[in-house]
């Protein structure tokens, strides 16, 4: 499988292939077509960063722009899912969850339980997340901990083009509501991606690097940074097990625990704010279920408990860096 495409192309391809395979897959969002009702070109944008470009041309009215009314168009996706469609709704930036969360967590996420099992809501919510784009406090957050906290939702954080495609196809075929989060700084990342459709099961971590000295659990864009650090330290003879859980809900506890049992040392790298975060969650896993294996306290590397600053100088120190990850690895080894 020699073909290399970007993370963004992988997402586009997954959507395209699933729409081709299954008539019930429909897309909706803000300017995911672009140009609707306008005098110029239709499909002018294909999403604010071009991720859905071309899909309107191929699939016509199954790709729909919406007015800026996230509650109602995402709610419409939820309602359509409850009627047997497989909608993929784009919430442009995950930061906008504040105007539409109810339809996601109180409706989609709870139907099955509240209705005694007699409902399925196979909706996918795609959203961009993450810092690094100089997009400031309301367009740069990593809010996946919130979705992970909420029962009834599945949460997916692809860290590579290969995972993006396989996880998105799985998300669309999955029968539960899925939050599929795309890191905006990864869109241009290239990687090998098979042309044919394939799925990656939820709840199965990817062991990105194997090692026996330290376990590093990292999410989304942080996976690449952790791997980079692991490669660097490998030259010094420090070997790290770098685990990308790929989905935070469900979580592959087993792989993480197995690794901790082997290494006895854990670093968690999470781009989100630190409180009640995935960094907390994995730390809890270690101290409740693998305490006897731990040889040192856990180290977490996260953003600080602050909004995301606009200033590039500040944003660069807001985001966890390889240096900080390396320091954390060295600290657990002390």
């Amino acid at each position: 499988m020699a073909r290399k495409i970007t993370y963004q192309q992988a997402i586009n391809e997954a959507l395209d292939q699933e729409m081709t395979r299954d008539e019930s897959v429909i897309l909706m969002g803000l300017d995911i077509v672009g140009g609707t009702g306008s005098p110029g070109e239709m499909d002018a944008w294909g999403g604010v960063l071009g991720v859905t470009k071309g899909l309107y041309g191929k699939h016509g009215d199954r790709v729909m722009d919406a007015p800026i009314s996230e509650s109602s168009y995402i709610g419409a996706a939820v309602g359509a899912a409850a009627c047997g469609m497989r909608p993929v709704a784009e919430l442009m930036f995950v930061d906008f969850l504040g105007v539409c969360l109810d339809q996601i967590y109180n409706q989609a996420g709870k139907f099955k339980y509240m209705f005694g099992g007699k409902a399925e809501t196979p909706v996918v919510i795609r959203a961009m997340y993450g810092a690094g784009f100089r997009a400031a406090a309301q367009h740069s957050q990593s809010l996946y901990s919130i979705f992970t906290h909420l029962p009834g939702l599945k949460v997916v954080l692809p860290s590579s083009p290969y995972d993006a495609k396989g996880l998105l196809i799985q998300s669309i075929r999955d029968n539960d509501p899925v939050i599929f989060l795309e890191h905006k700084m990864l869109y241009t990342m290239e990687g090998e991606v098979p042309e044919e459709p394939y799925t990656i099961p939820f709840g199965e971590a990817n062991i990105v690097r194997e090692g026996d000295d330290v376990t590093i659990v990292a999410f989304g864009r942080m996976v690449g940074l952790a791997a980079e650090v692991a490669d660097k330290l490998a030259k010094e003879g420090i070997s790290c097990d770098v685990i990308d859980p790929r989905t935070t809900s469900p979580l592959d506890e087993e792989s993480i625990l197995e690794s901790i049992e082997n290494t006895g040392r854990l670093v968690v790298v999470d781009e989100s704010n630190p409180r009640c975060s995935m960094a907390s969650d994995i730390s809890e896993l270690a101290v409740t279920k693998a305490f006897s294996s731990l040889k040192a306290g856990v180290q977490t590397v996260t953003a600080p408990h602050t909004p995301v600053p606009f200033s590039p100088a500040l944003e660069d120190i807001y985001i966890p860096t390889p240096d900080k990850i390396e320091a954390a690895v060295r600290a657990v080894l002390k």
Binding site: I26, R62, M64, A66, P67, S69, S71, S72, Y73, I74, G75, A76, A77, V78, G79, A80, A81, A82, C83, G84, M85, P87, D102, Q103, N106, Q107, F111, K112, Y113, M114, F115, G116, G117, K118, A119, E120, P151, G152, K154, D174, N175, D176, G203, P250
Partner: protein
């Protein structure tokens, strides 16, 4: 009125009577302490759900509110299972996990009572969209209250339904109050038709005590939606007979407000008078239904009381299809 067959008229009466008796009984049983939780009763508003849902078939879907029993019954949800649900029993429509505020039956096209005010209208856009994509002539009906008409989710959905030209009907059941707050105060437009116009759809209103008025108004809107003419808005002017929820002392209401409505404009009484005056049905036909329904409701309570609580395993099931 004359367009309805005798069968249909009997059905309409049966539906309204079922709702009424169900609600009166839940009220009584709640007062005795047999029913847990927040319970919002639909008594007084029967003609609304009935006049609208009489037009619907199983492919049509409705979204309801916290005050959902009437909509459930009108959409054909099983009364025995509903009562068990309200009691929190494992034989309930939702295995006891939902309760009064979340009764649903998707197979019947009932997308759920909803604990979130304004939760339903976006879902109904999804229903309309599904019908549109599948090229059926099905419709979606969003029932919501005057209070809910001010929730952003409702307002957005009205815009979306017009923009996407969806076969959706927005039915505001204006019973004068949102909890203790008057709709005259909380709703800024003089007339709901004005608000509908602001979202590019036709708006009309009708007397929610008169089944036939509701039926006729809904007929037009639903026909329009079925034939691709897009969404409509209907205000049903109605009254609720009980408090906002069970336990509400209702001191915010006018003196004898409910008594007066009951005496002068009760939907069951009005229906009976109209159809018997016009010689379409006999009093005895209706009395017969009253008897049947009384028995049905008795049976539902008996079965609900006798049913088991859900067993402990149920706590952890039904969260996901797979996990």
């Amino acid at each position: 009125m004359s367009e309805l067959s005798k069968e249909q008229l009997l059905d309409a009466y049966r539906m309204m009577r079922t709702i009424r008796d169900f609600e009166v009984r839940v009220h009584d049983e709640f007062a005795k302490g047999g029913i847990p939780g927040f319970v919002h009763l639909y008594a007084g508003q029967e003609a609304s759900a009935t006049g609208i849902c009489m037009h619907l078939n199983d492919q049509d879907r409705i979204a309801s509110t916290h005050r959902g029993h009437g909509h459930c019954i009108a959409k054909g949800v099983d009364v025995i299972e509903m009562m068990a649900e309200i009691y929190g029993k494992e034989t309930g429509s939702c295995k006891g996990k939902g309760g009064s505020m979340h009764i649903a039956d998707l197979d019947k096209g009932m997308l759920g009572a909803n604990g979130i005010v304004g939760g339903g209208p976006p879902l109904i856009c999804g229903v309309g969209l599904t019908h549109k994509m599948r090229k059926t002539d099905g419709v979606g009906i969003a029932f919501f209250g005057d209070g809910a008409s001010n929730q952003g989710t409702t307002l957005e959905s009205m815009n979306l339904a017009t923009v996407w030209n969806l076969p959706c009907i927005f039915v505001v059941e204006n019973n004068g109050y949102a909890e203790a707050t008057s709709s005259e105060w909380s709703v800024s437009c003089d007339n709901y038709a004005d608000r509908a116009a602001g979202f590019g759809m036709p708006g009309s209103n009708c007397d929610g005590h008169d089944f036939f008025a509701v039926y006729e108004t809904a007929k037009e809107a639903i026909a329009r939606a079925r034939s691709g003419g897009g969404p409509s808005f209907i205000e049903v002017k109605t009254n609720r007979y009980y408090g906002h929820f069970e336990g509400d002392a209702q001191t915010y209401r006018a003196d004898k407000e409910v008594e007066k409505v009951k005496a002068e404009r009760d939907c069951l009484d009005m229906f009976r008078k109209k159809v018997t005056d016009a010689n379409l049905l006999e009093h005895s036909d209706l009395d017969q239904i009253d008897k049947e329904i009384a028995a049905l409701i008795d049976e539902s309570v008996k079965q609900a009381e006798a049913a088991n609580e859900p067993s402990a395993e149920n706590l952890l099931t039904d969260v996901y299809v797979s996990y």
